[in-house]
């Protein structure tokens, strides 16, 4: 017989082995899934892998998908430092896209890229922060649960985008499609070299490292870490925990909103309906898989991008339905979170009494 015994500490090697092991397990379970729908996994995995990593279209798409996942995941992870759940990254992404679109439609003819890009970046960041200030303020000063408010605001932001797309912002030349006209070129995020990957990805990586530095090396970051670890101790230390909650949730929303900017200014160059394939909701998974570590988010955003692109390829190459992607996502979440048991416990052979 075996029994579980609590670990006193978890070495890094165990964390790596457990995480990699859980991903492998998800792939194995996924192969069963593929076999059930009539695809030979032994053939499908390598061919999809080759298309994804070695084909130019494949890896560029990988990095393009990774960018919004990284930004929304980072946003969710920032809130999680104080044990707050920001379920509203999807809405924040939409609001960021709306803010970017407004600025781009309004000013990109008049200003060149040197002015336009910083304006888009700062404007979107501020707009996302103001949007998140609604649930943040309600939480800090009235104790309203942020999970509910951030979730509900998603519907508001998405509806707002629809309202604009069907109304004031609809481009008459596209006949009846709900999309705006294309931005002026000064509002296009530049590409890296000759690839189709735009500068949103480095931006996300820089922000992840900045978040880490903020947490580790500044007094405000220290207060956040204390309050996240033990809120009573933060009160005892005289920190203004209400302000901390507010600041962190606002920051969380501002970063997630940038994902909307990179999507519309970097990929579509216009706002259109359903431009986000649940990037905001998937950001929750990205953050959770990284155990809310701001730098770990870079790795898990890549992992989720692999699932997104791999799923697309499976759709195209093997005519599988999109539900297969969601099933893969679910499997991965299931195994990774399930494996966390082995981070705090280890299996031990029970000694006979």
């Amino acid at each position: 017989m075996f029994e579980l015994e609590r670990r006193l500490e978890t070495p890094l090697s165990v964390q790596v082995v457990v995480t990699v092991g859980s991903i492998v397990l998800a792939l194995i379970l996924g192969s069963v899934l593929l076999a059930v729908v009539g695809v030979d996994p032994i053939e499908a995995y390598p061919s999809v892998g080759a298309l994804m990593f070695f084909d130019q279209w494949g890896w560029q798409d990988l990095f393009l998908k990774m960018t919004p996942l990284l930004l929304t995941g980072l946003g969710v992870a920032i809130a999680a430092q104080l044990n707050l759940w920001n379920i509203g990254a999807e809405g924040q992404l939409y609001l960021g896209a709306i803010a970017t679109t407004w600025l781009a439609l309004e000013y990109s003819e008049a200003l060149d890229a040197h002015f336009m890009l910083p304006i888009l970046l700062i404007g979107t960041f501020v707009a996302g922060g103001m949007w998140a200030a609604i649930p943040a303020g309600l939480r800090s000063w009235f104790g309203v649960n942020e999970i509910i408010t951030t979730l509900l605001l998603n519907y508001v932001a998405i509806s707002l985008a629809d309202y604009l797309l069907y109304g004031a912002w609809r481009d008459p030349s596209t006949l009846n499609f709900p999309m705006t006209r294309s931005f002026g070129e000064s509002s296009f995020l530049p590409m890296i070299g000759s690839t189709t990957v735009h500068w949103g990805l480095p931006l996300g990586i820089i922000l992840a490292f900045l978040t880490w530095v903020l947490l580790k090396s500044t007094t405000i970051g220290f207060q956040i870490r204390v309050a996240g670890d033990n809120l009573s101790a933060a009160d005892y230390a005289g920190f203004n925990t209400k302000n901390l909650l507010f600041i962190v949730l606002v920051l969380s929303g501002a970063v997630a909103a940038l994902a909307g900017m990179t999507e519309v200014a970097g990929v579509h160059h216009r706002l259109q309906q359903n431009f986000s394939i649940n990037y905001g909701y998937t950001g929750i998974i990205v953050s959770r898989l990284a155990r809310n570590h701001p730098i770990g988010v870079i790795g898990t955003a890549f992992l989720l991008a692999v699932i997104f692109v791999g799923g697309e390829l499976l759709q195209v190459e093997y005519q599988l339905p999109i539900a297969v992607i969601y099933l893969f996502e679910g499997l991965l979440l299931f195994t990774v979170i399930g494996s966390e048991l082995f981070l705090s416990y280890r299996l031990r052979r029970r000694v006979a009494v």
Binding site: F222, R225, N230, Y236, A237, G238
Partner: protein, 508 residues
């Protein structure tokens, strides 16, 4: 005499402590039997054994002469033993009747009207009338306790265990409870009553058994004892002499001139959110170079008083003056700045951030000191160096200053807290239960540091439930009971017996 429940040589050990040392106890039918003892005497362990929460290491129980094996609370209830907990186990947004039937066998479709009828009948019989449809959250504390008692009676309990039931009640509510207990006693129920309030114990009990350090010290029948004998039995007669011997060895400095008043409370009052008073008419003064001891039974208002003094809560009435300035708005950070140090009673809950490094925990209450940061950037090397130095001078035993503080032992954790709180310019140090749970060496070390701080001219308030510690350390003593100061005296006039009586609410 008609014994209902007999305990024979009940023994229970926890790592490092004998909680119950071969306890023999009998409970007769229709008797109120009180178990009296200080905190940590083993009362709660014993009651938890009877009600099935703990399983004893050895010993046996007899129920009406037949052996009784109780492995869990459900079996205890099935055998007619019911416990009314000190902290109510009720679901606030359910109704009274829903709370009462919780966990009792019911048919799939609830027979609400029948249940309501049963509750009414029980209520009339024992003076526990309550509207069964009210929600528990709308009831007063006394009424909630009635629900707890009804719960136990509804399950058919013949033996009731009440764990400090009057601790949370007003005097009037307590009187009403006594009447209920008499009624139940008349009806043939047997009651085990836990308390350390001397007066109610003497009035109410048919028999009193005193527990000390896990052992039975004595059992007395009604009318055969008095408060001072019970106080001696509870606290031990020899404590005062040993205290004096150690005091001579520990006192390091001659008396300082104790002229400057650092902390002053005038008619201070604090209300609970639900409206009752946590603190009332507190007048208290702490001077520089003085250790003031605050004696009191657990939960007499010490925690609230501490929260007021360090700025976690603002007073509802009266004045709080710190270093000659009135503190109108409660602010922890402002008081830290003015020189308040605080060793919290619950060190794990308030004193540390468990997953942060030991070195980082040193800046918890000192974050804005320029020693550690400049313009908002932490000076990592200085934080580490400071942590190392403090750990050395306070003899904190840890593998490194970079391990999470949660991995340290209680004693080492407490040293970190004390080191942190005394490492900036202080005027006042509030030490709540600073040596609770620590071994002898760690305790002596911490007490010496406190005496040294006193010699350096600090004003110190020492909150403790341990009278020996208070007499050893303090220059002046206050006694708190039910949120009010019920006595004060210089150390020279302090007698353990007198303080013990004051603590339990008896006027000396």
């Amino acid at each position: 005499m008609n014994p209902v429940l007999e305990l024979q040589k009940i023994h229970k050990e926890f790592p490092g402590i004998v909680a119950n040392d071969r306890i023999d106890l009998t409970l007769n039918r229709g008797e109120i039997h009180t178990i009296l003892g200080e905190n940590g005497a083993g009362k709660s362990t014993l009651m938890n054994i009877i009600s099935g929460l703990y399983i004893p290491d050895s010993g046996s129980m007899l129920l009406e002469g037949k052996p009784l094996y109780i492995k869990n609370p459900a079996q205890a209830i099935a055998n007619g033993v019911g416990m009314v907990h000190q902290h109510f186990m009720l679901i606030p947004n359910h109704s009274v009747s829903e709370n009462i039937i919780l966990g009792t066998p019911q048919s799939f479709r609830l027979q609400k009207s029948k249940v309501r009828q049963q509750i009414k009948e029980l209520g009339i019989r024992y003076g526990l009338e309550l509207n069964p449809d009210l929600r528990v959250q709308d009831l007063s504390v006394g009424e909630q306790q009635k629900v707890e008692i009804l719960k136990v009676l509804f399950r058919g309990a013949k033996i009731l265990i009440l764990d400090e039931p009057t601790a949370v009640l007003t005097p009037q509510e307590s009187e009403a409870l006594y009447k209920i207990l008499y009624q139940m006693k008349k009806d043939g129920h047997s009651i085990l009553f836990i308390s350390h309030k001397m007066r109610e114990v003497i009035e109410l009990s048919d028999r009193i058994t005193v527990l000390r350090h896990g052992k039975i010290k004595a059992t007395r029948n009604r009318g055969e004892t008095n408060s001072s004998e019970l106080a001696n039995l509870m606290m031990g007669e020899s404590t005062i002499q040993t205290a004096e011997i150690k005091t001579k060895a520990l006192k390091v400095s001659p008396d300082q001139c104790q002229n400057t008043t650092i902390v002053r409370l005038k008619n201070a009052g604090l209300r609970h959110e639900l409206g009752h008073w946590l603190l009332q008419n507190i007048n208290l003064e702490i001077r520089a170079g003085q250790i003031v001891g605050l004696a009191g039974v657990a939960g007499s208002g010490q925690a609230s008083l501490a929260e007021v003094l360090v700025g976690l809560r603002g007073l509802d009435t009266g004045e709080y003056e710190f270093a000659g300035e009135e503190q109108k708005v409660a602010s922890v950070s402002k008081l830290i700045h003015k020189g308040v140090g605080y060793i919290p009673e619950d060190r794990k809950r308030y004193g540390i951030a468990p997953h942060l490094e030991v070195a980082e925990n040193f800046l918890l209450r000192d974050l804005h000191n320029h020693r550690f940061q400049s313009r908002g950037w932490l000076q990592r090397d200085k934080v580490i160096a400071f942590g190392k130095e403090r750990m050395r001078s306070f003899d904190v035993r840890a593998a490194s200053e970079k391990i999470p503080i949660g991995q340290l032992s209680g004693g080492n954790m407490q040293k970190v807290i004390l080191a942190r709180e005394t490492s900036r310019p202080l005027k006042f140090l509030l030490a709540a239960q600073p040596v609770r749970g620590l071994d002898f060496h760690a305790s002596a070390f911490l007490q010496n540091k406190l005496l040294q701080a006193r010699a350096d001219g600090l004003a110190i308030l020492l909150i403790s439930e341990d009278l020996e510690e208070l007499l050893l350390m303090s220059d002046y003593l206050y006694v708190i009971c039910r949120g009010s100061i019920v006595g004060e005296m210089p150390k020279e006039e302090a007698e353990i017996e007198k303080i013990g009586l004051l603590m339990t609410g008896e006027r000396a």
